[in-house]
């Protein structure tokens, strides 16, 4: 029992560290990708190729003067970034990182918990993500922050619906809500080939839920100064930015797990891997998939301009929502025709 708890604790700790490091290096990656796409070099001063840049940024963030506006709601002002960070990190609990490892007869699952409503859990935590932004934006007592907060909440609620409906079509096919089961089902065929429309809708909604360009209206520098984090400075601002990158990491992980086979390696059976080598390879493959999607997020950000607000709402309610319902309908008909319902 104690060793079990210790293992889980250690696993959670490792996950946090990995998530934070990935988030840190995403900031570096973002600047590098942006630079490459714009025929520039990007950060290259701190360390070879600038790989120490995130550390320098972190030190800078910590050293900066912290400003808390006089007119702000102090407690909620502090609560905002912490909530954003908390909800960003909470989702990672259900991601399966590989098949279980074996050490002298003991099995160590590479998943923190495989609750049988894993997808609903993810969905629940994602729906809480808006609180960090709303509370921070409101507590700043600044009109730009408030506008950012309002935009964030309406945007996230709108896209949550389409996201949920997209997942429902997937769940109809998989027949389970557990992420572990969904990943192991994709041993032969990835879900993206079975549910391409669902994947597309989920991907677009993931952009909207993480407030990434082209859906970054809550922060929208050109219209709202800095949006919900206008009044934030120092590490509290860092928390907001970090939460965004962790969200990106987690959404990439969820997309890989739901649609791209998770830790499954293509043609895994032909490789004849055994023992603990397989989980390690699987972890690396999943990580590669995640990194690809993080790159994809950045790629899109530096390609597509920001939506206008009415376009955003139109896309969500008039585009993605009917499309998701249509997808459910098609899935239902196909499942009925193939005799999956008994």
């Amino acid at each position: 029992m104690i060793s079990f708890i210790l293992y889980k604790f250690l696993f959670a700790l490792i996950f946090f560290v990995v998530a934070l490091v990935v988030a840190m290096y995403s900031t570096y990656g973002e600047r590098k990708v942006a630079a490459f796409m714009q025929d520039r070099v990007g950060p290259n001063r701190a360390g070879p190729f600038g790989i120490l840049q995130p550390l320098a940024d972190g030190v800078k963030m910590f050293m900066k003067e912290e400003v808390i506006p006089n007119t702000s709601d102090r407690k909620l002002f502090l609560l905002g970034p912490s909530l954003a960070m908390l909800t960003a990190l909470m989702t990672g609990v259900v991601i399966p990182w590989g098949s279980p490892m074996n050490f002298n007869g003991h099995t160590f699952p590479l998943q923190l918990t495989d609750i049988n409503i894993g997808i609903l859990y993810v969905f629940g935590v994602v729906s809480l993500g808006v609180y960090g932004i709303m509370i921070g934006g409101w507590a700043s007592n600044n009109k730009y922050s408030l506008l950012g907060a309002l935009r964030a909440s309406s945007q996230m609620i709108s896209y949550e619906i389409a996201m949920g409906l997209a997942i429902i079509a997937l769940v109809m096919k998989t027949g389970t809500l557990s992420l572990g089961a969904i990943v192991s089902q994709q041993h032969h065929t990835w879900n993206v080939f079975i549910q391409p429309l669902s994947f597309l809708i989920f991907l677009i909604c993931a952009f909207a839920e993480t407030n990434r360009a082209p859906f970054d209206l809550p922060e929208c520098e050109t219209e709202l100064v800095g949006g919900y984090h206008t009044e934030y400075s120092s590490m509290k601002l860092g928390f907001y930015l970090f939460a965004e990158y962790i969200n990106m990491f987690i959404s990439s992980a969820i997309i890989s797990c739901l649609y791209f086979g998770g830790y499954n390696i293509p043609f895994q059976d032909h490789l004849h891997l055994s023992g603990n080598l397989l989980p390690i390879l699987q972890f690396l493959v999943l990580f590669a998939k995640i990194l690809f999607f993080i790159f994809f997020f950045m790629w899109v950000r530096w390609t597509i301009p920001r939506f206008r607000y009415d376009q955003l709402m139109n896309l969500g309610w008039k585009g993605l929502l009917p499309l998701a319902i249509l997808n459910i309908l098609i899935t239902g008909v196909v499942l009925w025709a193939t005799g999956a319902f008994k």
Partner: protein, 165 residues
């Protein structure tokens, strides 16, 4: 024993934050305290092994309904300064009547005899068993609920349109 302590902890959080919700002057604080209450109630659901309801409770109440409340309060810019308050006498009367109500209800509970439980199947709260009931016995109400949601959506859009004519 752990479950008992958990029960007391969750109940304490639920009741305390509910009270704070009623008594805090700032509407935004009220909303956040109510969210906390809902989390405690969701915790109760998990304790009772009603996983599906617990997570749906969080998604629907904390994730959607309370965000909507927060949204409206922020949009109308209701704050402490313009918050209408009742006189202290009215408040006292309210507290007394609510207290009396709770006393009556608890008294009624104490004198009522509840039949002993038949069986405690542990899997009733799971998605699969709940889904079976929902889509067999309660299929018609389920469909009606979807129509109700659609109607309310249309109604909300219609009501919040600025120009009706």
């Amino acid at each position: 024993m752990i479950s008992l302590y958990l029960f007391y902890f969750l109940s304490f959080v639920a009741i305390l934050s509910a009270l704070l919700m009623v008594f805090s002057k700032n509407p935004v604080h009220s909303v956040l305290y109510l969210v906390m209450t809902f989390f405690a109630i969701a915790g109760h659901y998990f304790l009772l092994n009603a996983q599906f309801l617990g997570i749906v409770h969080i998604i629907v109440y904390a994730g959607a309904i309370m965000v909507l409340f927060l949204y409206v309060i922020m949009m109308l810019n209701l704050n402490q300064a313009i918050e209408p308050m009742k006189s202290n006498l009215q408040k006292l009367a309210g507290i007394i009547s609510a207290g009396v109500l709770s006393l009556v209800l608890i008294g009624a509970m104490r004198t009522t005899e509840i039949k002993a439980a038949a069986s405690t199947a542990s899997e009733i709260g799971f998605v699969s068993s709940l889904g079976k009931i929902l889509f067999s016995e309660y299929l018609l109400p389920f469909e009606l609920a979807s129509i109700l949601l659609l109607a309310s959506m249309v109604g909300a859009v219609f009501l919040s349109k600025k120009e009706l004519d």
